[in-house]
């Protein structure tokens, strides 16, 4: 079986093991990308308020999560 077929099969899998692993990996990826973008925004002088607005969360939430970096 080719890899493409394997992947397609996995993507439509109803196996929670497969689906949940994908969700967990997505979350890790999002965390990483968010850290990258927030760091970049801060370096470019964006306020926590502006970053929060762009992310659709409160200024406090984004500050709490990223200010310790």
């Amino acid at each position: 079986m080719t890899e493409a077929v394997d992947t397609a099969a996995a993507a439509t899998s109803q196996d929670p093991q497969v689906g949940l692993a994908a969700v967990a990996a997505l979350r890790r990826l999002v965390d990483r990308l968010e850290a990258l973008q927030v760091g970049s925004a801060r370096r470019q002088g964006w306020s926590w308020e502006e970053i929060g607005q762009a992310l659709g969360v409160s200024r406090q939430a984004v500050h709490k999560k990223h200010s310790r970096r």
């Binding site: 692993a21 990996a25 965390d31 990483r32 999560k65």
Partner: protein
């Protein structure tokens, strides 16, 4: 936090920090402590592990396989493919804009439970990566090992005995992954200490 540690045992923690940073892991776990122990060549602990085929190199490889770099897990690339995302492509795009290793940079630990009453730090002498709960447990177990062996100071062997937690941890996983039995490691280390004593 480490006042009862021998200089060599302190070095294990220092090296563990370094290993964690090299993997771009924002935490200090039992897996890194194991690498720290393995780096203490010449110590009985490292020798016992070496006899069973567990060296700094094999353990690093195993950690790369089981956990991966920078907070991604070994299977994340495959898991993301199932939803149509090519992690390598994302990595390349991130690095094109933000430089090499952009995606591997430590993320602030966001999993810490929110608390209105932030726990006061009792010990300010430690400013390294945060110890994971199981790694803290290892320190506690090492402390108990030292106590029950009659010497007050925690040495490298005590740290390894502490790592061999029957409740399981990443270090134990690594040892198993490399084909060794944690119980055998414990038995051999104890035997070695007894003959040396």
């Amino acid at each position: 936090m480490f006042e009862r540690f021998t200089p060599d045992a302190r070095q294990v923690v220092v090296r563990a920090q370094q290993e964690a940073r090299n993997f771009a892991h924002p935490w200090l776990g039992t897996e890194h402590l194991l690498l720290g122990v393995l780096d203490a060549s010449g110590e009985p602990a490292a020798a016992v592990l070496g006899d069973l085929g567990i060296t700094l190199d094999t353990a690093r490889d195993a950690l790369g396989h089981l956990v991966g770099r920078g907070g991604f897990c070994a299977n994340d690339a495959a898991a993301l493919r199932t939803v149509g995302i090519d992690l390598e492509q994302v990595r390349r795009a991130a690095e094109a804009n933000f430089g090499p290793g952009a995606l591997d940079r430590p993320v602030a630990q966001c999993r810490r439970r929110a608390s209105l009453f932030r726990r006061r730090r009792v010990d300010d002498s430690y400013d390294g990566l945060p110890f994971m709960p199981r790694a803290k447990r290892v320190l506690e177990r090492a402390r108990n090992e030292a106590k029950s062996s009659g010497v007050g100071d925690i040495d490298v062997d005590h740290l390894l005995l502490g790592l061999l937690d029957p409740k399981g941890n990443m270090a134990v996983e690594l040892i198993r992954h490399l084909g060794a039995d944690p119980e055998l490691v414990r038995a051999r280390l104890r035997a070695r200490r007894d003959t040396a004593a």
